[in-house]
């Protein structure tokens, strides 16, 4: 594979894509690893995506960013792997477990569990510390729950497509997505928004 030939980049007729590929490889690996939670599988997916991108350079029409184009290929590779594994059942869905404790008997938030005001959370998107907590919270979700959630929110699939890929009923998909959001917000609230936003938390 002709990657890593950084010296050729400045004069290469492909406009320096080789070095770009190198530069975004680690982002791609993080992206794939979060979703697959399996390092060899993530590395394979990234490698295949990069190889396909390299071979298909001639088809890249230059509209949109090169990175988006490579990621579009990576998405396919990740979905392929998820599809191969979808025969493994999503076993850990135990209805009611966990979140019932946030509500009183009538189903209203307990005062101390009521979701807090996160202020203007968009400013966190620039904060590397925030993302470390975010990834840790994602990794704390049960594997199957996280897989469904990330197909929805990272890969941007519609719920119907996710159900089809994983052989789930639509209703089940919605429940799992809701549980993922509940788990993720709870984790972020306790580990970030209500604990000084990384200010004095030693990681």
């Amino acid at each position: 594979m002709p990657m890593g030939h950084a010296t050729a980049e400045a004069i290469s007729p492909d406009g320096g894509h080789a070095s770009q590929l190198e530069a975004i490889r680690s982002d791609m690996l993080r992206f794939a690893l979060l979703q697959l939670r399996d390092k060899p599988a993530a590395e394979d997916a990234v490698q295949e995506a990069l190889a396909a991108a390299w071979e298909g350079l001639g088809r890249f029409d230059g509209r949109g960013s090169f990175k988006s184009w490579v990621y579009a290929i990576l998405r396919y590779k990740i979905i392929d792997r998820i599809r191969q594994r979808s025969r493994e059942p999503i076993a850990e869905i135990d209805p009611g477990a966990g979140f019932d404790a946030l509500f009183d008997r009538r189903g209203f938030w307990l005062p101390e569990e009521r979701p807090a005001d996160w202020g203007d959370p968009l400013q966190e998107l620039e904060n590397a510390q925030f993302w470390r907590i975010f990834d840790a919270c994602l990794n704390r979700l049960p594997k199957g729950t996280a897989r469904v959630f990330m197909m929805r929110e990272f890969l941007g699939l519609e719920t119907g497509e996710i159900c089809q890929e994983l052989g789930m009923k639509a209703n089940h998909c919605w429940v799992v997505l809701h549980r993922a959001r509940m788990g993720l917000r709870l984790c972020l609230e306790s580990d970030w928004f209500e604990s000084g936003r990384g200010g004095y938390v030693e990681l």
Partner: protein, 64 residues
Amino acid sequence: MLNCKEAARLVSEGMDRKLGLGERLSLGLHLALCRGCRHFRRQADFLRTACRYHPSGATRPEEK
């Protein structure tokens, strides 16, 4: 009237499917009265935005 558990569930489902008219009306009423669930909705929206702009992804906020 919906309780918070049901309202939160509808907030979430509203992000994944189109809610029916009755669902939207009762959710709207609940949200008008319940700060906790309003916060939940903003948080859930933020989660979606955060995933979209995750640093490992292809899109950064300034590229919107």
